[in-house]
Symmetry: C2
């Protein structure tokens, strides 16, 4: 009975990891969902394209789910929406730019017409049966980003989304600290706040500082300027456009996501390019180099991105030219350092000039540093606190930060994905766990690659495969053909003929031995062939290829 | 005839990359080799353990090679020595600690007795027929590190090795700047200098500053202190020992390389542990936790390292306990960030306290920053300059740094591995190229894994393999058994029975069609089976597994 009057907060992703943010908030027969993101595969998830959250808890409670409320338009907050909607079609609420980016995605999946999208303005409140959801403007590395205040029967939950505090953003729309302060004054039950940068001391630098650096760089550029940045960072785009206009440069966009998102941002009025200043990539050749800026994808060195193709001379229309100046206006996401380094080296080798974070201040973070986090904790002064968006180390440091500001340790909750925080007016406790996990997307397959397939792929990647085939006559136990051995990814076969021939002999001896002893269970035969081969190959090479024994019986 | 009087400088590794440093210096019938390192495999070199330089140029000139001169004992400078000596046994010259570490390696390869090692002291000069090689002390993140001055018939070549300038090193042995300055005054023909940190402005911090941080941290530690660092950083080890002794802690070493190198360093007098302060890992349990320090491998989060095993509870003797304090006294090498992050998260989850670079100054770099590089260029004031140890971007920035200090651009040489710099007293020019490259070590195999095997491993990793086998009677063209399909790493087979059955049908149809039309060339049959399967599978799954068609003929 008690549970009846509790609100449950259930993170289904985004805790203990950076990525695939999704949280369910439940009261009686109503569930609202905050965000619906993807994460990118770990480096040992070979062949996997995307990782999406397991939403079986929501599917099991289909009729309760009233909508998805989006904080902003980054992939780790909206990327799973198509996969979600294919299983459960619910209304989606978000600001205009956020929905504009969602629409691109839905179009690609053929879902646009069947989806129910509701555009909101910061300040708007959406009323559900038990919840009221207020969108509150914040700042982030994408425009139109919001915190969400969820008014529940037991109190207010404030979810910051991803945020930073920027007093001089490019669109002049400063985070609504007054509203947050007011909410704090009236009492916030639970704060859920972005933990990404909790290990960084001080305060982030304003996005507008990049503009100054860009102008300085543009003022000296003699040829084309090619700027790689995140396609979703409209304010960065705007500053690149502004610097270009100041120096009489036309602007072209290169890369699919860059073209798509800049188009949406212009249509919706988030990106302003003076008339005649925007050109297509094909029109570049109509202008002298010193009148051209290209804004491109590939700031992470992604091998198929426009910038990588420019560097390695595989871009269809853009060829590097003397005096080209490339600016990489981004930080490498952990794990991408080597990719971007390869691109930088190649650009330098081809004679281009390259400016990146190590050399000039051409990027700022979109996530609050410690002093900004302290500001929010101080303004909100919540009863309970749940750090979100971060690996365990970040969640833990954020929890300690809250405690240093006066919160009881027992009132902070470092949660795992799937754990349920049960909230009443006077109590918060972790009360259980719902099924969660990851679902891997590989090509058209959603969830058909799992641990066994991945384990095999890792094993195959490590030492390759050796297939041994033999045809046996069932009646007589005679070997009719084989054993034949075919390998892939194991060893240069030409240089190893002797090894392979010896391996065949070993299989043959093993088979003869088994068949003589009337061991005719194929699975025993196969297992023996495999074991003797494994032993032999490990002794000779210290490698353990996947061994695939095949018996054809006739 | 002119060439006769030239000195050739031939980098065989270490340019355009971080790692596997090796350079040949040649005059008439004499070659001396500087360093002989390994590099670690790129992330897409699946299954490869080590990358060593291709030394075929030296093997082709066997009789000329007079010795290997080592600057210091890091893997990227000595790691290939065993593989080198197995092909070409030449004398090796190095300082005592450097050779001590080389000996560990030679012992493992069973080469110790057959090798000729010559220990030198900094200041020593080794005379060859045409060259004189002087070892000059420098500072680095390993003790006993040196620059090499090579006196050649055409002038002096100064090779810095890896270095930083540390005015307060732990062993009080400051880089011999006076000797370098003297050499500069008498005239240096060519400077070859470390470029690793040329993108960092300012000056490195002294190793001794770490000691202060450690003492501060140790003063507050209530349980055991576990410090992970590089096994070769003896000065770091010494400081950890000093802080431990100051707080009455015994010191144990964990991890194979940590145990090996600390033992050598103590035997040779580079590491000093007061009597009774050193214990084995097994003795830890005889002391209360607050009297224990463990120095361990795993500062890069390597999955099999001691620290990772402690974190994931698979270490044989060391189990995590409440109040354990872990210090990660190292920076992640690019690409290792995710590994170390996993270990940090796990340690926190298990309740340990963890201190790392983001939180405290527990690591300093061993490579000179820009101001140190400027110092060396200014003291040496060489005629020609070749930046070494770095990716292209580093070499280029180092070349620009030299030019800003007054060197002509035409006197700086950004070289590629294998290019030959020909030096006379009045001229330097790139005159050609010798064969170079990489050799991959996988298990016992050296060089038997190359591009084809790696390509197959990458393909296998991406989408797995599908083997299709059929037994055909040669005389009648009848299918006697099969087609059978076996997959690994492709798809969950249980959930995909329909797909696999459909695939079998397609193969069967293709075969029937071929056999009816008397297409009986096995390679045509196989190719057709493969093509039709590829097309079918890509349509159904958007994946391209390796397809291995096998025909058994009877």
């Amino acid at each position: 009975m008690k549970n009846e009057n509790c609100v449950k907060v259930i993170p289904l992703g985004g805790l203990g990891e950076i990525g695939k943010n999704i949280t369910a908030i439940e009261y009686r027969d109503e569930i609202m969902v905050i965000d619906c993101g993807i994460s990118f595969p770990e480096e040992d998830m070979y062949g996997v394209d995307l990782v999406i959250p397991d939403i079986s808890y929501l599917l099991d409670n289909k009729e309760k789910v009233k909508g998805i409320f989006l904080t902003h338009g980054h992939e780790d907050h909206i990327g799973s929406i198509p996969y979600f909607l294919k299983q459960l079609n619910v209304p989606i609420y978000g600001t205009r730019l956020t929905l504009g980016i969602v629409e691109i995605k839905l179009k690609e999946h053929g879902l646009l017409n069947s989806s129910e999208l509701h555009a909101v303005e910061p300040g708007d409140k959406i009323e559900l049966e038990n919840f009221k959801v207020e969108f509150i403007r914040n700042n982030h590395s994408i425009s139109d980003s919001c915190c969400l205040a969820i008014f529940t029967p037991v109190g207010v939950i404030l979810h910051t989304g991803d945020f930073k505090v920027d007093y001089t953003p490019i669109d002049d729309k400063v985070m609504d600290l007054k509203r947050i302060s007011n909410l704090g004054s009236s009492g916030v039950l639970l704060l859920m706040a972005d933990s990404t940068n909790v290990e960084r001391s001080g305060h982030t630098i304003s996005e507008s500082s990049i503009g100054e650096t860009l102008v300085k760089i543009f003022s000296k550029a003699e040829g084309r300027v090619i700027v790689a940045t995140f396609a979703s960072n409209i304010q960065r785009m705007q500053q690149i456009v502004n610097a270009s206009v100041q120096y009489g440069r036309k602007v072209a966009f290169s890369g699919r996501s860059m073209e798509n998102i800049s188009k949406v941002a212009m249509e919706l009025g988030y990106l302003h390019i003076p008339e005649h200043y925007m050109i297509s990539v094909d029109e570049i050749r109509n202008y002298p180099n010193e009148q051209i800026t290209i804004i491109t994808t590939g700031s992470q060195g992604e091998p198929m991105s426009a910038l990588a193709r420019i560097a390695f001379s595989t871009h269809k229309t853009i060829k590097l030219e003397p005096n080209d100046l490339i600016i990489i206006s981004a930080s490498p996401i952990p794990g991408n350092g080597k990719f971007i380094s390869r691109v930088i080296n190649e650009l330098f080798k081809k004679g281009a000039e390259v400016i990146y974070e190590a050399l000039e201040e051409v990027h700022v973070s979109g996530h609050a540093y410690r002093e900004e986090l302290k500001l929010i904790h101080t303004l909100v002064h919540p009863k309970y606190f749940m750090p979100v968006h971060g690996e365990y180390r970040h969640l833990r440091h954020h929890s300690i930060l809250a405690q240093r500001l006066g919160m009881e340790s027992s009132n902070t909750f470092i949660m795992e994905t799937g754990q349920v925080l049960e909230l009443s007016e006077n109590e918060a406790k972790i009360s259980g766990r719902v099924p969660t996990g990851i679902v891997l997307v590989d090509g058209l397959g959603v969830g058909d690659v799992g641990n066994i397939v991945l384990r095999d792929r890792r094993h195959l990647a490590e030492d390759g495969i050796l297939t041994v085939v033999v045809t046996i006559e069932k009646e007589t136990y005679n070997i009719i053909a084989g054993p034949d051995i075919i390998t892939r990814g194991f060893i240069y076969v030409k240089e190893s003929e002797a090894l392979i021939n010896e391996a065949k002999e070993i299989v043959k001896k093993e088979l003869d031995n088994c068949l003589e002893n009337k061991v005719i269970e194929w699975y025993v035969l196969k297992s023996n062939m495999k074991k003797s081969l494994e032993k032999f190959l490990y002794e000779k090479t210290k490698r353990r290829p996947v061994i695939l024994p095949i018996i054809m019986e006739i």
